[in-house]
């Protein structure tokens, strides 16, 4: 059977019910064990999709902060272009927030305060492959509040990489200790 145009032999072609024209298409993923830095391979985000969803789950070796960077040609970008706003709610019901216009990474989630130190994040990435626009991201995460390892809670945040550039992946960074878990990347079909 010939491979349909637009697909490679390794891709999983997902069946979509008749009349449903939208779907998440699995693109890439990896499991990791006791790593401090986990990066996507180059070329995960391309112009094929405008919007990508990344699901990230981990348990860590301790209560740690986990940050995120965008990749350019497979390399994490460390410049101070991570404009961000984050709203947090801990299990005591106390809300707080943080933000900056010039961060060097995005505080994504911190692992929960007690063993096994889990954390979960769902991240949506907007138009990352467009070199003529800012890459955007919004996320929701639970474990410990972002930037506050040890305080269990929910974080919701937004990121605008405030310099026009194309980005082709993400990097997840443990502030200390290490992470064990996985990430999955999906493209959102348009139309």
């Amino acid at each position: 059977m010939p491979i349909p145009a637009g697909y490679t032999s390794g891709q999983i072609v997902q069946a979509v019910p008749t009349g449903i024209n939208s779907a998440f298409v699995y693109l890439a993923g990896a499991s990791f064990s006791a790593q401090t830095t986990v990066s996507m391979a180059a070329g995960v985000f391309t112009s094929t999709y405008k919007t990508y969803r990344v699901e990230f789950q981990t348990v860590a070796s301790a209560a740690i902060n986990i940050t995120m960077r965008v990749n350019a040609s497979g390399t994490p970008v460390t410049s101070g272009n991570y404009a961000q706003a984050i709203s947090m709610m801990n299990t005591a019901g106390s809300a707080s927030g943080s933000g900056t216009g010039s961060g060097t990474s995005l505080p994504l989630v911190a692992t929960d305060s007690s063993s096994p130190f889990p954390a979960y994040a769902s991240i949506t990435i907007y138009d990352p492959a467009n070199a003529s626009s800012n890459t955007g991201a919004t996320y929701m995460s639970y474990g410990s509040i972002a930037g506050g390892a040890g305080t269990s809670g929910l974080s919701m945040g937004g990121l605008r990489f405030n310099s026009n550039a194309a980005h082709d992946g993400l990097t997840f960074i443990a502030g200390s200790g290490n992470m064990t878990g996985f990430y999955r990347v999906y493209g959102l079909i348009e139309g």
């Binding site: 890439a28 990896a30 499991s31 990791f32 790593q35 401090t36 830095t37 986990v38 990066s39 996507m40 391979a41 740690i64 902060n65 940050t67 497979g74 994490p76 460390t78 005591a92 019901g93 106390s94 809300a95 060097t104 990474s105 930037g147 506050g148 390892a149 960074i173 502030g175 200390s176």
Partner: protein
């Protein structure tokens, strides 16, 4: 094998010198942020103690 490693996709390799330098910088930054967070918590607790309030009572007072 170096103590500094990075996983790219499914491949784990030793970090380059540039990546190790960035890693050390990131760890230092995280430590500073964690200390700042801890200091804020201590300062908050000190204020609550001065006021004679618990964290729950403060939350009730602020309506959060």
């Amino acid at each position: 094998m170096s103590e500094y490693q990075i996983q790219i996709g499914n491949e784990v390799r030793d970090m380059t010198e540039v990546e190790i330098a960035q890693r050390k910088k990131d760890v230092a930054e995280h430590k500073a942020q964690a200390k700042a967070q801890a200091d804020r918590e201590v300062a908050k607790d000190a204020v609550l103690a001065k006021l004679g309030l618990t964290a729950d009572e403060l939350a009730a007072l602020l309506g959060s």
